[in-house]
């Protein structure tokens, strides 16, 4: 950067002026004729170097008087020898007055010029400095934009990573719930199988007896000793229990699969009502209650959506309702068009959700169920799915009256 305080060279208004310079602004004809009128004779003015500055060289003999500026002679007034000394002195005085006035004028004007030039030079330097500083700020502004966009990218990336991490964490959470849930049935299935093995051993013993013993009483005796009546009865129960356990495991695994595949199910053009119907069917089978699901499905346009995901949402909500509703409860599912959007309303007359719970129902991992019963992700995932379809999900509930879930899905063109 240029330092505006750097040395500024000045000209010299205070230089020694030459006679020629001092007389340059004087009209020489007028001066000569004025002098001639006073002296009655021709004259000429010479510099201190002898150069004729005004008038013409005169024939000798001559009188020569010095002309002073400031203190020293800087030239001479030359006249014919016959000119009167008093008159000559007066003329010299007059010319010196002209010279002094000239010096005043030249010094003042030169000084003025110098100061103007120096002020201008300073202004230019300041202007240059300003231009440079403006350029620096422009550069800074340009790089600022770039830096901001880089920063935004970094933040976006961090957000994605965070989202991924949360997803991993939620999967981990799910896995923990699942592990606990699977552990239970697997535990009693194992125990049942061990018992079954013993029961099979009892039957093997009896079967050996059967092959070698013809006495029915003895055989019956052995049957009783082995308590095979009980064994058959219990065996049946063990198998039923184990099948139930295995089914639970299968269901859990299926839930897990649905959850993990929720992100990449295919987009299809479907009638949402079809998926509502199948979700209702599954829900009715799933929960062995006499609950009635009333369907009031309006005519809907087909929309492009990830139908598998939406089915999961409807099922989730229906199951939530089924789980809390009493045997004579009613669930109604209605669908209709409103303001260019598909509205699906699921209403139950269950116990309702208290306000403090309602506030948290969408929070990940929030659950009111026993550990292992629910993951706390059902509504969270449901909301994510609806939002992915640019829709919205709202839950309204009143304790003792029931719960209303409203899903709004825009019809995409």
């Amino acid at each position: 950067m240029n330092d505006v305080n750097e040395t500024v060279p000045f000209g010299d208004f205070d230089r020694e002026f030459t006679l020629k310079e001092l007389l340059s602004a004087v009209k020489t004809d007028k001066l000569l004729s004025a002098i001639k009128m006073i002296l009655g004779d021709d004259s000429c003015i010479k510099s201190d170097k002898g150069e004729v500055i005004i008038g013409k060289p005169l024939p000798e003999p001559l009188k020569c008087v010095p002309l002073r500026a400031e203190m020293e002679a800087i030239g001479f007034l030359v006249v014919n020898n016959s000119v009167d000394d008093n008159l000559l002195f007066s003329v010299r005085q007059l010319i010196e007055i002209i010279l002094k006035s000239s010096i005043r004028y030249l010094m003042a004007s030169d000084l003025h010029l110098e100061t103007v030039q120096s002020d201008y030079a300073l202004l230019r330097q300041k202007h240059q400095a300003l231009v440079e500083s403006e350029q620096r700020y422009k550069d800074l502004a340009a790089s600022l934009e770039q830096r901001v966009s880089e920063q935004v990218k970094t933040i976006e990336q961090a957000q994605r990573q965070l989202y991924q991490a949360e997803k991993l964490a939620s999967i981990g959470q799910l896995a923990a719930g699942v592990a606990h849930e699977i552990n239970n049935p697997v535990g009693f299935i194992q125990s049942n199988l061990s018992t079954s093995k013993r029961y099979v051993a009892d039957f093997t013993t009896f079967s050996e007896k059967l092959k070698n013993e013809n006495n029915l009483d003895t055989l019956l005796q052995t049957w009783k000793e082995l308590d095979l009546d009980y064994t058959i009865d219990d065996f049946q129960k063990l198998l039923d229990e184990s099948i139930g356990g295995a089914e639970r495991v299968t269901k859990i695994v299926n839930d897990l699969k649905e959850f993990s595949s929720a992100d990449h199910s295919k987009e299809e053009i479907v009638d949402i009502n079809d998926h509502i119907r199948s979700a209702c069917n599954i829900a009715e089978i799933e929960i062995n209650k006499k609950t009635v699901i009333k369907q009031g499905l309006g005519i809907l346009p087909k929309i492009k959506c990830q139908s598998g995901q939406l089915a999961q949402v409807f099922l989730n909500i229906l199951l939530n309702a089924e789980q809390v509703i009493s045997d004579d409860g009613v669930i109604s599912v209605n669908s209709f068009m409103q303001d260019g959007s598909i509205i699906v309303v699921i209403i139950d007359n269950g116990p309702g959700i208290p306000d403090e719970v309602l506030k948290k129902v969408f929070d990940p991992f929030y659950t009111t169920k026993e550990v292992g019963e629910g993951t706390g992700l059902g509504l969270t995932v449901s909301r994510d799915i609806i939002m992915n379809h640019n829709g919205n999900i709202e839950i309204d509930s009143k304790v003792g009256v029931g719960t209303t879930v409203q899903i709004i899905l825009p019809v995409n063109t």
Partner: protein
């Protein structure tokens, strides 16, 4: 910055009266014009004033001839003291061979003195003068007024500086010659170094000072 012209055997020296506005620079010059009686003394040129305040500068030319025939011409300038005329101050200070800093002794003017002195140092640097080695005398003017800083206080403050301090009342003519004498003293040393005034031109310091001052009453 002195200007030696070998053609006409002339040495021109520029001496500048610097200082805050209304400290008495022009009064100093007027008194010198009245009091000095050198071999050559020009008319005092007063340029552009407004309400007694210098707008451009004042100029008093003086001259003496050394035994060698060397004409030593002293041009005494004043600068305008007002802050606004800084460019003019710089132009006048440019190429100065010596400076008389005329300070206003009134207590109320202390800050103006300091600012003007700092301005002198800055401008000296800007026009390429070696301020540290510039022949200079500091004059505390207006001693005849009441409410002035005490001599003790001023001496105390300027004790460590290399410059001669003179107390004056330019309006009454007191201390004006002493101030100028002080500057001629240090100026001679500098010029003697540069131009061998004593050895080549046979001009001693006493003769130089006496020549410039003349028969001081």
């Amino acid at each position: 910055m002195s200007d030696y012209n070998s053609d006409n055997n002339k040495l021109t020296l520029k001496l500048v009266f610097y200082g805050p506005a209304l400290s008495g620079k022009t009064t100093n010059l007027t008194r010198l014009h009245d009091l000095l009686d050198p071999e050559l003394k020009g008319e005092m040129m007063v340029l552009e004033t407004k309400n007694d305040r210098t707008l451009f500068f004042d100029l008093l030319p003086l001259g003496i001839t050394a035994p060698s025939g060397l004409l030593i011409k002293l041009k005494l300038f004043t600068v305008p003291g007002q802050v606004a005329h800084d460019s003019t101050r710089k132009a006048v200070l440019s190429r100065a061979d010596g400076v008389i800093f005329v300070a206003d002794s009134q207590i109320t003017q202390s800050i103006n003195n300091v600012e003007s002195f700092e301005n002198l140092a800055e401008n000296a640097a800007r026009v390429g003068l070696d301020f540290e080695n510039l022949p200079m005398v500091v004059q505390f003017n207006k001693r005849d007024l009441l409410n002035v800083q005490s001599e003790e206080e001023i001496n105390q403050r300027w004790l460590s500086t290399p410059w001669k301090i003179v107390f004056s009342s330019a309006l009454k003519g007191d201390g004006v010659i002493e101030t100028f004498n002080g500057l001629l003293d240090v100026l001679y040393n500098r010029m003697d170094n540069e131009y061998q005034l004593f050895n080549h031109h046979k001009l001693s310091k006493e003769e130089f000072i006496k020549g410039v001052l003349g028969e001081v009453p």
